[in-house]
């Protein structure tokens, strides 16, 4: 594997290191949720984090998105060390995410929810918005166009004006993805995008993830429990167990890693 990247099995060119986690340790009181973990995410790649329940995967994602600040270790983004940041500052650097338990804004319509994804891009000040006509309205329209493209892309046109609270689970997951995409992120974090879905919905979601990666060139890091999906989708996989990293590599390498089989897959296949 060269520093300039590598070529995947299906012929995609993967770029240099975008996000580099170095020696991350995260504690809650006396509990170590993450123990000295290092791994990287490369430009254009689909990177999976897997592991049994309580392995620390979601905590890891929360560290990347700035929700938790690790006690030890460094986060490097685009070749620069990232100082401790608030989550909204991280979002403005171009990192968007979805949540394990859907975190949509229940009181707003689908369209408004997706529009919130554009908040990092909308710059008009309070006065301009109060006047509305002119700058604020133009900005709104321009952003609306971007959002409508994403709505088309994820095939949720029909429910645009529906309050999110009324939607079924599978659609909510899709709206959440739309909201994350609306930010046009460089790095997209997906926390169990397929949890609780049936086979058909999983297929749809997998297709969307691949399309996002393919069409927008978005780098994706995802947590997922469905092994079949992970092995199919991802270019490289990090395996975590009890807060430690026990494996890292292509799906094939991970599948044949003895420690991973013992700690994780072995148990699952018993």
């Amino acid at each position: 594997m060269l520093d300039e990247g590598y070529v995947t099995a299906d012929g995609r060119q993967i770029g240099g290191v975008m996000m580099d986690m170095r020696g991350i340790t995260l504690r809650f009181g006396g509990v170590e949720a993450i123990k000295n973990i290092s791994f990287d995410i490369r430009e254009g790649e689909i990177r999976a984090i897997i592991g049994p329940n309580g392995a620390g995967k979601s905590s890891m994602l929360n560290v990347i998105s700035g929700f938790y600040n690790p006690q030890e270790g460094e986060v490097w983004f685009h070749g620069k060390r990232r100082p401790p940041m608030k989550p909204f500052q991280v979002a403005r650097q171009g990192i968007a995410r979805t949540f394990q338990n859907i975190a949509l804004f229940e009181g707003m319509t689908v369209l408004d929810n997706v529009m919130t994804g554009r908040l990092t891009q909308m710059k008009s000040g309070m006065l301009a918005q109060a006047i509305w006509k002119g700058k604020a309205e133009r900005e709104e329209t321009a952003n609306r166009e971007v959002v409508e493209k994403i709505i088309d892309f994820l095939e949720i046109q029909a429910i645009r004006k529906t309050p999110v609270g009324r939607l079924p689970y599978g659609l909510k997951k899709r709206v959440e993805l739309a909201r994350a995409l609306a930010a046009e992120p460089k790095l997209l974090l997906l926390d169990e995008p397929m949890a609780g879905m049936n086979v058909e919905e999983k297929e749809d979601m997998s297709r969307f993830i691949l399309d996002v990666n393919d069409e927008f060139g978005t780098t994706i890091a995802l947590i997922e429990h469905d092994m079949g999906v992970v092995m199919d989708l991802s270019d490289r996989v990090v395996v975590m167990d009890y807060g430690r990293k026990i494996g890292d590599g292509t799906p094939d390498e991970v599948r044949n890693n003895q420690e991973v089989i013992d700690a994780y897959l072995g148990v699952a296949h018993d």
Binding site: P87, E106, G117, T120, S124, M126, W132, E139, R144
Partner: protein, 358 residues
């Protein structure tokens, strides 16, 4: 044509996101404005102005203000009375310090001062959430009222501790003071209401409004998608207090004329405006009007029925009013948390599809 949506296609995004997407609503909106501006001023008399129209308009501004904070941004405040007092006293100090400046600027500036005070008291909202914050805003309520009662500078060392609105003119007509005609008082309040409502609508439809609603619905998720909670909450406090300050200034200068902080801006005022917002509908500007209208009309209505028609003691009717308002609050929270505005919206949704609901 009464209500029509099918076949009313929009061809551009601005058209789709306008305030009243349905043509019939647009017509009605202009009709209401026309009546309010062109008809009512000519027919209004002192009784209608002082018992209904002027308090309705002023409370509507306060309700819009609180609705922005509570209904849109999800931060419950029990300090509305205190912030109205800031508006009133700021307006009074400005009126007496700069008698040559037009009252309109005094009122607007009073709103601006209240916005600054509101933002300062909004600072704890970063650490404190939910009803902890609601209780914390009581600190603003009690402290501000105490301040205006105790520090004589605020009431220009007057012997009574009251503040009295001097006479001020707009285009040669008195709008404050005892000789101000009813129609002028009404018209001044109407202009401010219209201004505030349009401002509130614009601020809630764009990115600022969305960041408020995101904080309201799920603050953690909002922060992770890029909303700066400090900015969102403080702007909500500031904008909300701006409106509340204007309403306080008008309440003092135009409506009452003479004010004592504890009597006019006590905790009951905070609850009254909160009730308007709950009954009218959280997160709805139309609801702010509906709630204000309802709670201004109710006592007048009860007084006419109870005291004038049935001959009951005034005191008893007042107690009955407490029972009714309390029961209504509970009823609406159980049955329709989005208030009168939601009832209206549901009726409209039915009408839009009528006569083919399926």
């Amino acid at each position: 044509m009464l209500y029509r949506e099918a076949g009313d296609f929009k061809t551009s995004y601005p058209e789709d996101s306008q305030t009243f997407p349905i043509a019939f609503d647009r017509w009605r909106y202009w009709a209401v404005l026309a009546i309010a501006f062109l008809v009512i001023p000519f027919v209004i008399n002192d009784y209608w102005a002082s018992s209904l129209m002027v308090p309705f308009l002023i409370y509507a501004i306060a309700a819009i203000g609180l609705n922005i904070l509570t209904g849109y941004c999800g931060q419950v405040s029990l300090g509305t009375g205190g912030f109205m007092a800031v508006g009133a006293y700021a307006c009074y100090k400005l009126m007496t310090a700069f008698p040559d400046v037009n009252i309109v600027f005094h009122v607007l500036l009073a709103g601006g001062i209240t916005a600054a005070v509101g933002a300062a008291f909004g600072l704890p909202s970063l650490r404190i959430k939910g009803f902890y914050l609601a209780v914390a805003t009581l600190a603003a309520q009690f402290f501000l009222v105490w301040l205006f009662n105790k520090v004589a500078w605020f009431y220009n060392y007057s012997a009574s501790g009251q503040i009295n609105a001097p006479e001020r003119f707009i285009f040669g007509t008195a709008v404050t003071g005892p000789s101000a005609p009813a129609w002028a008082q009404y018209l001044v309040c109407l202009v401010f209401v219209t201004f505030c409502a349009v401002l509130a609508r614009n601020l809630t439809r764009g990115s600022l409004g969305r960041s408020w609603m995101a904080i309201r619905d799920m603050d953690i998720a909002a922060e992770i998608i890029g909303v700066n909670p400090l900015k969102a909450k403080l702007t909500a406090f500031a904008v909300s207090s701006f409106f509340i300050g204007i309403s306080g200034a008008l309440f003092f200068a135009v409506y009452l004329g003479a004010v004592e902080a504890g009597d006019s801006f006590g905790i009951t005022k905070s609850f009254l405006v909160l009730f308007m917002v709950i009954l009218g509908g959280l997160g709805s500007i139309f609801g702010s009007f509906a709630g204000a209208a309802f709670l201004v009309i109710l006592p007048v209505f009860l007084k006419i029925i109870g005291v004038d028609v049935l001959g009951w003691p005034t005191e008893m009717v007042a107690h009955l009013q407490l029972v009714i308002v309390g029961a209504l609050i509970m009823f609406f929270l159980i049955k329709e948390p989005h208030g009168l505005a939601q009832l209206w919206r549901l009726a409209k949704e039915k009408l839009r599809l009528w006569p083919f609901p399926y």
